[in-house]
Symmetry: C2
Subunit: 237 residues, 2 copies
């Protein structure tokens, strides 16, 4: 009997947003694999789990090279899968933690696919988590969608002119992966007349979070991890 | 000092998906208000909280009339707010529970607005929750969005022909509020060539959940509460 691989979403930064099931699965797992940004660099997801009172787990960092070369990436996922499969073949359960939810812009699906290729019929279960947009909306005290409203979620588009068309079709736009383009995005929203009904949250849930219910004086470098722009378009008004 | 009103998302059906913070807030609240579908009818959200081991809370059902008349609805929200404010004025905290997340198609924003009108400067905090789409994607073992993909979330449109245009612009469509139109929706997706890459989950997280990774023999009446169609469009393929 091989063990089960669990993909656990630890939520968007606030350790209190880990779910009861997520906590229980992590406590039972023989090993907790952690995507690490680089050798010796701290993992945000691991920090959240530690803050949630689970510092004693057997954390095992998986370091992935900073590369866009698909062959390099595939090889590193395969190497990670080999380490995970060593645990599963011993009949023990393994967990892989992701920020937010494993189904929303996470890397769990790549790991799961690589594990499936090595270990046919392996049991894989996803434990969903709270996502950044849900916490961001909570922090600015505004709903994401009500009644018949429509929402779209996307990485900040290359062509910011697209935001105008999206605003005509959706009541709420949620923009992730803003990175160094926050200032540029705010300028585009201002030109479209949408800045006043937009909010920004950066490093949601972390002690140094930035909560801007209105886009005013946001530092240009505020959009690191766990960041979102939420645009209420007033489409139906 | 008036108390704080907490809007707590209890997640999409599986009691294990309540967050640690949600549980703690509910345990500390003097009263837990529950939207009830009708006099004497059980509340799904309350059932989830009870299953999570919190059966001893002081649950107080708020019954809202089945009406689309805005005046009738406003009066019932105001009456509900009056009951909540009685607790807050005593300096005690109150909670209002919603399925999923309070910011996603919930009624918490209406209650919060009515409470704010009665009690200026009142402290209101939202505790986000896991949403149905995150659990549905986990149950069918597919990510919602990866890499640069785009997602839209909307109630099943009146005009199902709209789905074709949305599928050209988004990698994932998530359709809520399907109700009695599940069969009709599956037929429309079939005509658009999207049925094979679509999944359906009904009553997500509940003991009698329906998980259909491919749209086959789904009972036509399967789409009650906590239901979603997830359409992967293959737009970028």
């Amino acid at each position: 009997m091989t063990g089960t691989l669990y993909g656990v979403g630890v939520g968007p930064g606030d350790p209190g947003l880990l779910t009861l099931k997520g906590r229980d699965v992590l406590l039972r797992a023989a090993a907790v694999f952690v995507p690490a940004p680089g050798e010796g660099k701290p993992s945000l997801a691991m920090g959240i789990v530690r803050e949630a009172g689970l510092g004693g787990l057997d954390f095992r960092p998986l370091v992935f090279p900073m590369s866009r070369d698909e062959k390099v990436l595939a090889a590193s996922w395969d190497a990670a899968a080999a380490r995970v499969c060593d645990v599963l073949r011993d009949g023990k359960d393994a967990a892989f933690i992701t920020l937010g939810d494993p189904g929303v812009y996470s890397t769990f699906s790549y790991l799961a696919a690589a594990v499936r290729r090595r270990l046919q019929g392996v049991r894989i279960e996803t434990v969903p988590g709270v996502t950044t947009m849900n916490l961001a909306a909570a922090l600015v005290n505004r709903p994401l969608v009500e009644g018949d409203e429509r929402l779209c979620l996307l990485p900040l588009p290359e062509d910011l002119g697209e935001l105008g068309a999206l605003a005509r079709s959706f009541d709420t736009l949620v923009l992730y992966k803003i990175g160094p383009r926050l200032r540029e995005a705010v300028e585009a929203l201002t030109r479209l007349g949408l800045a006043r009904s937009s909010s920004f949250v950066g490093r949601a849930g972390l002690p140094d979070q930035i909560v801007a219910p209105e886009l005013g004086d946001i530092p240009g470098d505020a959009a690191g991890y766990l960041s979102a722009l939420i645009v209420r378009t007033g489409r139906t008004a």
